[in-house]
């Protein structure tokens, strides 16, 4: 078996670690690119959202590299993502890419369901080893998130153009290359040192922007046109409503790890604006907007793939949150367009607006 999985930002780092720990032969597809998108658009249904097309492209490219088994997350509830694994499998079959499919779904009742699925992948490895593998992957997810939070801080302050980006990719590589749990502490330390070594120019308080929305477009830089990077380079400090480790903890580990932001709390914050599950991360989006507004952020950006139903529901509710908490909210809808001029214009104008507001507010406070 040569296993592959779709990309979603840096998800490949913990996933590869987990699978390799169990001696599974892993094929990581090339990073999502225009070619990936072209392949997905060619074979995917037009009306599906962009994540499906990119997944499909990832699988085709992984197949070219010799993968024969797909490991994919599933889902349940009104978002059509739950059905994507099956659809993608059928499409691949139609175009002659016969691959085996294993869907990892959020456990309905308890974590053992997931472990059984993982056993299917890992064969005769002991349960103890499987749990160790998950722990290893989870550790990597935590380390990656730590670096991401750091790069959000450094990017708007970097003294030399491009320095933070280079440090970030170098640090990620260190985490990715740590071959065993024993090497993690050292890798984390080294990676942290690389990030801390980026020279920063002195700066006053920066505009703080929270990015919220649909998980795939949040986590995959190719899908959001490197939104966080644009914001950072325009001088804004960014935070994101969702990090890999939080998602893994909520959806795969059943909230086993305590002390992380949980989707349950976020959803609770959505009340009284949206008190029901509407599929995907719709309720979390509204809840995160409330949380960030309360935390004193200057602005909020919602991203989602074109036609994403749960986020459309959230979008129609967000203006209410915006006016109640007096915080500007911008919505960006992502699809195939790769021309960045339009995105740049909106972000620039949004940051201009936030900076102006911040200035006038500070004057009033003085």
């Amino acid at each position: 078996m040569r296993a592959t999985f779709p990309h979603m930002g840096n998800l490949y780092i913990p996933l590869r670690a987990m699978l390799q720990y169990l001696d599974v032969d892993v094929v990581v597809p090339p990073p999502s690119s225009k070619r990936t998108l072209n392949l997905g658009v060619k074979h995917g249904p037009e009306f599906a959202c962009m994540p499906l097309k990119l997944n499909l492209g990832n699988f085709i490219e992984a197949r070219e590299m010799g993968a024969d088994t797909i490991i994919m997350a599933g889902g349940c509830g009104p978002c059509r993502f739950g059905y994507y694994a099956q659809i993608e499998h059928a499409i691949l079959k139609d175009i002659g890419c016969d691959m085996q499919l294993i869907v990892l779904e959020p456990p309905e009742k308890n974590i053992s369901e997931l472990i059984i699925k993982i056993k299917k992948i890992t064969g005769r490895r002991s349960w103890w080893q499987v749990i160790q593998a998950i722990r290893f992957g989870y550790q990597k997810a935590l380390a990656v998130d730590e670096l991401e939070r750091k790069v959000f801080q450094v990017r708007p302050r970097e003294a030399r153009a491009g320095a933070s980006e280079r440090a970030f990719s170098e640090a990620l590589k260190l985490i990715d290359n740590a071959a065993s749990p024993g090497e993690m502490a050292e890798a984390r330390k080294k990676a942290g040192a690389i990030m801390a070594g980026v020279a920063c120019k002195p700066s006053g308080p920066l505009v703080r922007i929270a990015v919220i929305g649909e998980i795939y477009t949040l986590l995959e830089p190719f899908a959001n046109n490197r939104l966080e990077r644009h914001l950072g380079l325009l001088g804004a400090e960014v935070d994101r409503s969702l990090y890999l480790s939080e998602w893994v903890n909520d959806h795969l580990l059943f909230g086993l790890v305590k002390g992380l932001r949980s989707s349950k709390e976020t959803c609770a914050s959505a009340s009284p604006y949206l008190c029901h599950f509407v599929g995907g991360h719709g309720q979390e989006t509204v809840g995160s907007a409330v949380n960030y507004a309360r935390a004193g952020y200057d602005g909020i950006i919602q991203v989602y793939p074109f036609t994403c139903m749960p986020e459309i529901v959230a979008q129609s509710i967000l203006p209410g949150v915006g006016s109640d908490y007096d915080i500007p909210i911008l919505t960006l809808i992502m699809d195939e367009h790769t021309g960045e001029a339009g995105l740049q214009t909106r972000l620039e104008a949004f940051i201009d607006l936030l900076a102006r507001r911040k200035e006038t507010r500070e004057v009033i406070c003085k």
């Binding site: 153009a161 500007p328 809808i333 699809d335 001029a341 339009g342 104008a349 507001r357």
Partner: protein, 325 residues
């Protein structure tokens, strides 16, 4: 005479204005971009130079519009600013106290909300270009009427027909259907204006508090049919300012004035750039799987700017990278 140059390079039109030091528009030029931003800017500069008296001194230059980065490098701009900020700045000067700006250009439409002279909110069309100038252009061409007369004809309507406005494709098939049923041209055009306004208010203006004074600007504001449809839908008077079609350029010039006041010197290369030979090209970098499309601009044979690469290896190669903002 001394003053400031503002250039707005949009998808459909390229506008140049020259403001005197007091912020009064002395010259304004509106040209069609026709897919050739460089040649059009050069043509505009030549024309502007010809119209201005001899010995005029450009104290600063600002650029805006979707072609702003390219143009900024071309002319040596003191500010490269987005259209939203530029439009707001210009409106505030020409219509003091403005609280809402409706702006419809060639390819995008936006709404800008201002309170106490500060932009407090804005929105821009994201995935759909229905209702922008390009679509009106296309429909005018299909019906074989000059775009300049579109609004006048629409005003003659007695009972505008209902046309679907959500999607340009739906709108077009609706229009064709109504036209084949025998509806009059003025009624169809007025119906289209109303449909576009409806779409604009539901899509771009969604959830925004639209308060008077309302200013309508951008190329589409030339269309009196659209202005009337806005007044009807909003039940508010809508002002179309004198320089509605070059507001972005006016804003860019005002921003240049601010920038030069800070820096003291202008980076403007002079009107001679109208005669320089510029060449642009693009290539796909094969250095990594990102396969970035890198754009290169050369002046008189030497590369003056590159952009589009994610890692910076090409853009940083041309001396200091132009900070895009």
């Amino acid at each position: 005479m001394k003053g400031y140059l503002g250039i707005d390079v949009g998808s459909v039109s390229t506008n140049l204005v020259f403001l005197n030091e007091g912020g009064i528009v002395r010259e304004a030029i509106y040209l069609r971009t026709q897919g050739q931003p460089i040649a059009t800017v050069q043509k505009g500069l030549k024309e502007l130079n010809g119209r201005l008296p001899d010995g005029v001194k450009v104290r600063g230059a600002g650029v805006t519009g979707s072609g702003r980065h390219l143009t900024g490098v071309l002319v040596g701009a003191d500010t490269v600013k987005n259209e939203i900020t530029a439009h707001a700045v210009a409106s505030l000067l020409l219509v003091p106290g403005v609280q809402t700006i409706l702006e419809i250009g060639g390819q995008d439409s936006k709404i800008i909300i201002l309170r106490n002279g500060v932009v407090t909110d804005f929105a821009m069309n994201t995935v759909c270009a229905a209702g922008t100038g390009s679509f009106l252009d296309q429909q005018a061409a299909r019906l074989n009427i000059p775009i300049e007369q579109f609004g006048e004809i629409a005003l003659q309507a007695e009972s505008p027909v209902r046309i679907a406005g959500r999607c340009a494709v739906f709108a077009e098939s609706d229009m064709i259907h109504k036209q084949q049923m025998g509806c009059g041209l003025p009624d169809i055009l007025a119906g289209l204006c109303e449909a576009l306004v409806r779409n604009y208010l539901n899509n771009v203006g969604k959830g925004k508090e639209i308060l008077a004074p309302v200013v309508f600007q951008g190329g589409v504001a030339a269309n009196v049919g659209m202005a009337k449809a806005f007044e009807k839908a909003l039940e508010l008077p809508v002002t179309v300012p004198a320089h509605f079609d070059v507001m972005g350029a006016v804003g860019a010039a005002l921003l240049a004035r601010e920038a030069v006041a800070r820096t003291g010197v202008s980076r403007f290369k002079g009107f001679s750039v109208a005669d320089s030979l510029f060449k642009t090209g693009s290539f796909e970098c094969s250095g990594c799987p990102n396969m970035c499309e890198v754009v290169e601009v050369a002046e008189q044979g030497s590369v003056i700017a590159r952009w589009g690469d994610r890692c910076g290896k090409w853009s940083e190669d041309v001396g200091k990278k132009e900070k895009i903002s």
